[in-house]
Structures are given as structure tokens and as C-alpha cells.
């Protein structure tokens, strides 16, 4: 998965070879899915994001000039669309739009006791979901994707120093959220 190969694919696409786009999709679909999934913690939403990302990529590919690496460009699009999805959801939640138009789905949810073990897992997931956008993005890209700060810096257009501070605060906030939740019980 070398960078020059990605670039060759892009150039080939720009010369009219549509199949190069397909190869890019195959190459990155899994990564894009997982980043999206970390952001929204939901398969269907992550799937929507994946679709949006590749539609966006297809439409923007002819304008890609190679100022950044293909993969940082692609990740940046993924992060942006993921954040947009979250924002939309947040505004919808806030306005409680769904309440007006949708009947709540039949509660087929969790028998509490069986899920003792996954309670911790859920708490952590929730803590991550509740991080401020920037911290969340940095946390996902650094902790889960293990990207170098230099690359994250290009993806999020933030200085490395700022990223490190964001990362630290993200982890601290997760810890505090879990801690508070435990004490509330």
C-alpha cells in the first residue's frame, strides 16, 4: 500500500480510467468504515458515511493535486463527513425532530442483568461518543488508528503540539466520565 501507488491510481483516474477509482475504494473501504464507526458507533450510520465519503472522493478526484497524500486526503474527508453526521444528529436530537414524526421503536432492548460485563464497555463507548469533536477526532486517529501526529496534523489541520494536548485531554475526559458514572451508581 505505498503512497506512490495511490498517487498513480489517482493520476490514472484523472486520465479517464474509472477502474482506478474502484481500486481506491477496495483499498480504503475498510479503513474508512472503521474510522466512521468509531465516530458514530453504529453500523448503519457508518455505512452511510462510507457511501458519502466515496461519492465525495469520486467527485473530487479530478481536482486532487497531490498537495497532501492520498490517504491523508481521504481520511480528512472521512473525518469531516463523520463530524457532519454527528452534528446533524445532534441538532436533530436537540430539536427533537424525530419526536414529531417518528414513533419510538418497540423497546426490544437489553435485559439489564445479563449485560453486567458489557456495561463497562458501553460506558467507555459513551464516554468516547461524548467527547468534544476535536478531541474525539484526535483520539480516534491516534489511539485506534495509531497514525503519526504529522499525518493527523495534515488531516485535521492542527499543529502537532495542539494535537498532543487534545489527545491528553480526550483520555482524561474519558476517565473522568467513567469515574463520575461509577460514583453515580
Amino acid at each position: 500500500m505505498s503512497v506512490s501507488n495511490d498517487l498513480e491510481l489517482v493520476e490514472s483516474f484523472q486520465k479517464g480510467n474509472e477502474a482506478s477509482f474502484n481500486e481506491l475504494v477496495r483499498r480504503y473501504q475498510e479503513k474508512v468504515y472503521w474510522i466512521a464507526h468509531r465516530f458514530v458507533n453504529d453500523h448503519d450510520q457508518a455505512d452511510d458515511i462510507v457511501q458519502e465519503v466515496f461519492l465525495k472522493v469520486y467527485r473530487a478526484l479530478n481536482d486532487f493535486r497531490g498537495d497532501s497524500g492520498v490517504y491523508t486526503w481521504l481520511y480528512r474527508i472521512t473525518v469531516n463527513i463523520s463530524l457532519n453526521t454527528i452534528r446533524k444528529q445532534r441538532i436533530k436530537d436537540f430539536l427533537r425532530i424525530d419526536e414529531f414524526f417518528e414513533y419510538p421503536s418497540e423497546e426490544s432492548e437489553q435485559p439489564d442483568k445479563q449485560y453486567e460485563q458489557s456495561e463497562q464497555k458501553q460506558l467507555i463507548e459513551e464516554a468516547i461518543q461524548r467527547l468534544p469533536e476535536k478531541q474525539k477526532a484526535v483520539f480516534i486517529l491516534r489511539y485506534y488508528e495509531e497514525l503519526p501526529y504529522e499525518d493527523i496534523s495534515k488531516i485535521l489541520k492542527t499543529s502537532v503540539g495542539g494535537l498532543k494536548a487534545n489527545y491528553f485531554h480526550a483520555v482524561k475526559n474519558i476517565g473522568e466520565f467513567v469515574h463520575r458514572a461509577h460514583r453515580a451508581h
Binding site: N22, V25, R26, Q29, E30, Y33, W34, H43, D47, V50, Q51, F54, L55, K56, Y58, R76, I77, N80, I81, N84, R87, K88, R90, I91, K92, D93, F94, L95, I97, F100, F101, Q120, K121, L123, I124, E125, I128, R130, P132, E133, R142, Y143, E146, G161, K164, A165, Y167, F168, V171, K172, N173, I174, G175, F177, V178, R180
Partner: protein
């Protein structure tokens, strides 16, 4: 001597992402800095908890469905509802803004004369928040989570803002503008609604206003 630089490297230290030089620096620093030692212990606890979160894999056939669906959408022309959706979202955006305003105004304490001096500094802090922060804060407050330490103060501060009424509108617009790569599409936030639903929303809001 404590330095921020070391503190911010602690998580990378824990996850083994430092080179040898930085590694030694952090290790030495930890022996002499109780503050960082505390951070270190907290981060370790989070790291342990994080190990509970592992990937839930999508079905094995999932990835093979991605490309065909992308191609299908690329080939298909614009939805016929598109233009209609545009009109509605033009209606919806101001609607969304007024809904936000409305909710804030309803929540705003009717008598905010007491304790004013005390909160001035906090109002100032709220003013410095980005649009994202504000929406997040409001959203958090709304759903009962206290990511920000004192939600009451935050919502009060926001309410204060809204006496200048432009704030949320500007905040939303700022969001749209600041999104360089992806069109913010806040316009499309509620664009799934048809005209009838938009009317419903409108009358719902009017009812709330009369309360």
C-alpha cells in the same frame, strides 16, 4: 520540574509510541513529578478500560457491497425530490434557528437580575466558545450529561447571548463556512422532511411559543 510537554506525552508513553529518547525523558520525569505520576495512573486506568472496546465486525459480505452501491449512486441521476428538498430546507433553516431561539427563550430564567456580577466572567467564557462548543454544550445539557462543569451556568450564559439574537444564527452560519472540505449541509439537516412535516413542525413550534 514539571513541563506540559511531558504530560502530553504520557499516553503515548503508556501505549508504547515513543522513541527511546522520549521514553527515557518521560521515565525520569515520572520519578520526580507527583503531578505527572497522578496523570499517569489515571491514564493507565483508562487504557485498561479501553481494552474492553474491541471491534464488532460487520458481516463478512459487507465490504463487497460497498462499491456496487457507490457505483449505483454515481450512475443514478439526482433524485427527483432533490429540488423540492432544497425548497424545504430553505424553509427549515430559519425554522431551525427560530426553534433554537425559542427553546432558549423558554428556558431562560425570567428574572436574571440576581447574582449577575458573579456570572459575568462565565458569560465571557461562553462567548469565547466556538459554535461547536455551544451546540455541544447545549446538547449535553439537554441530554443531562455534564461534560461541562456547570450546565446551568452555561445555559444561562447562552441565554444571555441570545438577547443579542444573532448569535445562534451566526454560529450555525459560521459552522457552514468553516467547513472547507465538505459542504456543511446544515441546510440539509432536516431536508428529509416533506412539506407536510415541515408544516407540522411549524405548528408544533407555534404551540410552544404560546405557552
Amino acid at each position: 520540574m514539571h513541563t506540559e510537554h511531558i504530560k502530553y506525552s504520557l499516553m503515548d508513553y503508556i501505549t508504547g509510541h515513543l522513541d527511546e529518547f522520549d521514553l527515557d525523558q518521560v521515565r525520569l520525569h515520572l520519578q520526580t513529578c507527583p503531578e505527572c505520576q497522578n496523570h499517569y495512573n489515571e491514564l493507565i486506568a483508562v487504557r485498561d478500560a479501553l481494552q474492553h472496546t474491541r471491534k464488532v465486525l460487520p458481516s463478512s459480505s459487507y465490504y463487497s457491497t460497498i462499491l456496487p452501491r457507490v457505483q449505483k449512486r454515481l450512475m443514478g441521476h439526482r433524485d427527483p425530490v432533490w429540488s423540492d428538498g432544497k425548497i424545504i430546507s430553505r424553509l427549515i433553516l430559519p425554522l431551525a434557528v427560530s426553534a433554537l431561539l425559542l427553546i432558549f427563550l423558554i428556558r431562560m430564567p425570567s428574572d436574571s437580575s440576581s447574582g449577575h456580577d458573579q456570572t459575568d466572567a462565565l458569560f465571557q467564557a461562553v462567548k469565547d466558545y466556538s459554535a461547536d462548543d455551544v451546540i455541544q454544550a447545549v446538547s449535553n445539557e439537554y441530554t443531562g450529561s455534564n461534560v461541562l462543569s456547570n450546565p446551568e451556568v452555561v445555559s444561562e450564559g447562552i441565554a444571555e447571548h441570545l438577547q443579542g439574537e444573532h448569535f445562534i444564527r451566526e454560529a450555525l452560519l459560521k459552522q457552514i463556512e468553516s467547513d472547507e472540505i465538505v459542504d456543511m449541509d446544515i441546510d440539509g439537516v432536516l431536508s428529509g422532511l416533506n412539506r407536510e412535516q415541515a408544516d407540522q413542525l411549524l405548528s408544533g413550534l407555534t404551540e410552544r411559543e404560546m405557552l
